[in-house]
Symmetry: C2
Subunit: 497 residues, 2 copies
């Protein structure tokens, strides 16, 4: 409970403390999440200073407040893959034209999106900026791998990639350049290869749910949605509040397709030469966009505490007579709460209320208010960013209470998102039913023939795409929701980003 | 002291344990450091699996063993700059043509090295891959900075940059694409701006000397060697074993040059509009090349322990009868020494001697040998990579002894490099003297008029360049070593990479 005194304090704060700074005040979010969702999203991203538009169309600047989320994701994931004996490396930005042609499907898939470099010297081969690094990495793999002793080879890289998308771009979700990780592993057997492709997908799911508090449906892509050059593509899919699905990460069983194109062979223990098996897997900075969409609200950014670097902002309630005492206590608390990267907002010329708004906009998970009346009671007030729940807590218990509040917030954010996801998946038996559900912005699970032509028709009529064949389903004996042919699987359809 | 028994053990190891793997054995370094230095360097880089040539000329693959050095440098430096309130961010890879033209010197400096993208759409402006990010970052800064409250603004980015060098390329030291950090800060006053430019340079020096064990001479660049668009450039210079100087990092006082070109202004506390002051500072993956050159030897890579991720390799000396017991102990030791990232090389089919060579080639700072005789004595043998010093130590004291050995090695590597540097700086008074010293591969300190024309003549006659005006020198009243005009400073000249 927040004390009345403190509320009063905010209002009473002396007017003469307010300088011209408040006139420059940046506006809060002026669009509602339930209104023009796209406009709301852009405002949150821009006003919370996560990103900015770049001078070149389709590019973005990732500002420090978002880049630190990316660093936290990197730190989390580097620990995971290091345990799996994956090593980070760095391969060149530019890829020769001939490499793209080596794997036919891959070349066709990425061809239209390549950015080519103007040739400096006639004699040099034309090169393009990497849209993904299979080809350039596997050229090296072909040289490095000789025997079964060199396998498995597990390499990951964190880098920028570029795809000259013609579709409309969107901050974080779809930009021509983005940052990502791409893991590329080589194995002696397909069994091992698929096993680990699924293992990395499972780690993606754990990260999305555990760290980002975004519930996931995982499954396999239909042939129509498969990665260019892959034998199988696995995916984790999330549902955004506007009813559109977002692919959060994929892993691919590449089979021996690239091994054959790039000559990746090894001598097995019986000295027979074999083609190797490969997988690749990646997620990108679009995860940051998903976090913003799923959790934020009309006041601005809401971050799951685990991913927020600064987990608590201390806003001292300042009056002239108790100013020094309160500030001193605020700084003591910041030191006490340093493992949460607590910081004190002691700027002059801004009211406490103005500061509340600013840190709500910027998504600090918990606000700690402390004023003279709190000090008398040896307490402080904690306010949760997501539901504005207030709690007066004794200073002696503050670390414990803060930990608890952050844990509850993390857990509640996930629960709410899960409830939304569960409430927005529907099962359709007929085409009419399915179309109606899609119009209601649902994800629709339906029996499907798994034929490319039929998939294309569904997309043509509804703009919905096959998101995945969810894992763990029982074998269906039914008719395809669209064409009526035999259906052995159920596929999840939705409009997508 | 290594026991005779253990040496015998290595030789006696059963022949039938050796499989075909040993026939595939990669050769060690076949060139001496004192021989063809360039060939020796390339062999160390390639055979220690630090890097590989890329298919596109002038590009390289940074392999995991080198990338982890880069990550360790990143982790070290991120902590430093975070304390200085610098935040990481990410700006776009592609820069519009018009941006390069805004700062005339900058445009002239980088123009010839730009890689342009083939235009996709006629209507879009021509864009190039960043050779450095001043222009693209300062365009955003111009939008973000409004008032003195927004200053100082301190942003850093870790990224790839591309300069289409025509000079011969060299792994790590000079490649068309490289990884680096570039810090870009904005201040209200020049005083603050220069102070921090020097502060970051000092941090570079501390890192080079403390982490990489490479002694530094720091100073200011002459006008001829200044960064394109800077008012002052500061540098840390190191001396490579072949007598060539290597620029290890620079920081620039950009003055108000870019602020004027990109409209970076702020309202000061009296509401007057002012142009801001800026600095920028960077170091790159060439640091890895410097580490290799300075410390490595005819057996391969030598790494300063602080930068080596795996600080100790445990090689068990295996005989059939004691195999299980020794392996068990080896793994116990690996756990005990896990904070050093100790690992056990228990591969079958390789002799202990073969393993010794491999890990010497790859630069693991300390080898721990343990065999049955050692176990009887409750000891293990530690061997230092740089001087091959052996020490039998009691198991109970192993952590302490290992720590001590690593510290001594770190300190000795620095001392040796410092001795080499000090022994190879000479002071010249006459032009004849200076030419002779340069021929003897010395760095030469000489009084200099500090005129661009004279600097050019020196370079023309000797290929040596002005490395820096070293800090802390007393005012010279002398004549220029080359032209005889008045000289108020001494400049350090050397042939450079």
């Amino acid at each position: 409970m927040k004390s009345k005194v403190e509320n009063q304090g905010v209002k009473m704060e002396k007017q003469n403390k307010k300088s011209s700074a408040q006139k420059e005040e940046k506006q809060g979010i002026t669009e509602k999440k339930s209104g023009d969702f796209s406009e709301w999203y852009n405002q949150v991203v821009l006003k919370a200073e996560l990103a900015d538009y770049a001078p070149v169309k389709g590019f973005m600047v990732i500002r420090p407040r978002a880049y630190e989320l990316w660093e936290d994701i990197q730190n989390y994931f580097n620990k995971i893959i290091s345990r799996q004996k994956v090593h980070n490396a760095y391969f060149p930005l530019l890829i020769p034209e001939s490499f793209f042609r080596k794997e036919a499907e891959h070349a066709e898939g990425f061809g239209p999106e390549l950015a080519w470099i103007e040739n400096k010297e006639e004699s040099e081969e034309r090169v393009a900026i990497r849209p993904t690094s299979e080809t350039i990495m596997y050229d090296s793999y072909g040289k490095w791998i000789r025997s079964w002793r060199d396998l498995p080879l597990r390499i990951n890289q964190w880098c920028n990639v570029l795809r000259w998308e013609v579709k409309q771009t969107k901050l974080f979700l779809r930009t021509r350049e983005f940052l990502w990780q791409e893991g590329h592993c080589v194995y002696a057997t397909e069994q091992e290869c698929v096993k680990e492709a699924l293992l990395f997908l499972e780690e993606y799911k754990k990260m999305a749910e555990g760290l980002l508090a975004i519930p996931i449906i995982s499954g396999e892509k239909t042939s129509g949605e498969r990665f260019a050059g892959a034998k199988q593509t696995f995916t984790i899919e999330a549902l955004m509040p506007d009813g559109k699905a977002l692919q959060m990460g994929t892993s691919h069983n590449l089979g021996q397709n690239f091994a054959k194109s790039f000559g990746i062979t090894f001598l097995d223990e019986k000295a027979n030469r074999q083609f190797a098996w490969q997988n690749s897997w990646g997620f990108s900075t679009r995860l940051i966009g998903a976090v913003v969409m799923v959790h934020s609200d009309d006041k601005g950014l809401v971050l799951p505490p685990k991913i927020a670097r600064e987990k608590v902002v201390i806003v001292p309630i300042l009056f002239d007579e108790s100013r020094q005492k309160v500030l001193k206590k605020a700084h003591e608390l910041a030191i006490k709460l340093s493992k949460f990267n607590a910081f004190v907002d002691e700027r002059d010329g801004y009211s406490a209320g103005w500061k509340f708004n600013e840190w709500e906009l910027k998504g600090i998970p918990v606000r700690l208010e402390i004023g003279p009346k709190d000090m008398e009671k040896n307490q402080a007030v904690l306010v949760r960013r997501d539901n504005f729940q207030k709690k007066a807590v004794k200073i002696s218990a503050i670390e414990k209470e803060l930990s608890k509040m952050l844990e509850e917030m993390q857990s509640d954010l996930f629960k709410n998102a899960k409830k939304f996801l569960d409430g927005n998946i529907a099962e359709a038996k007929t085409w009419q039913e399915m179309k109606g559900m899609l119009d209601q912005k649902k994800m629709v699970l339906a029996p499907f023939c798994n034929e490319a032509g039929c998939e294309k028709e569904i997309k043509g009529e509804t703009t919905a795409t096959a998101r995945c064949i969810p894992f763990g389903q029982k074998k269906t004996v039914s008719k395809c929701v669209k064409c009526g042919k035999n259906a052995e699987i159920k596929v999840l359809f939705a409009k997508g980003y």
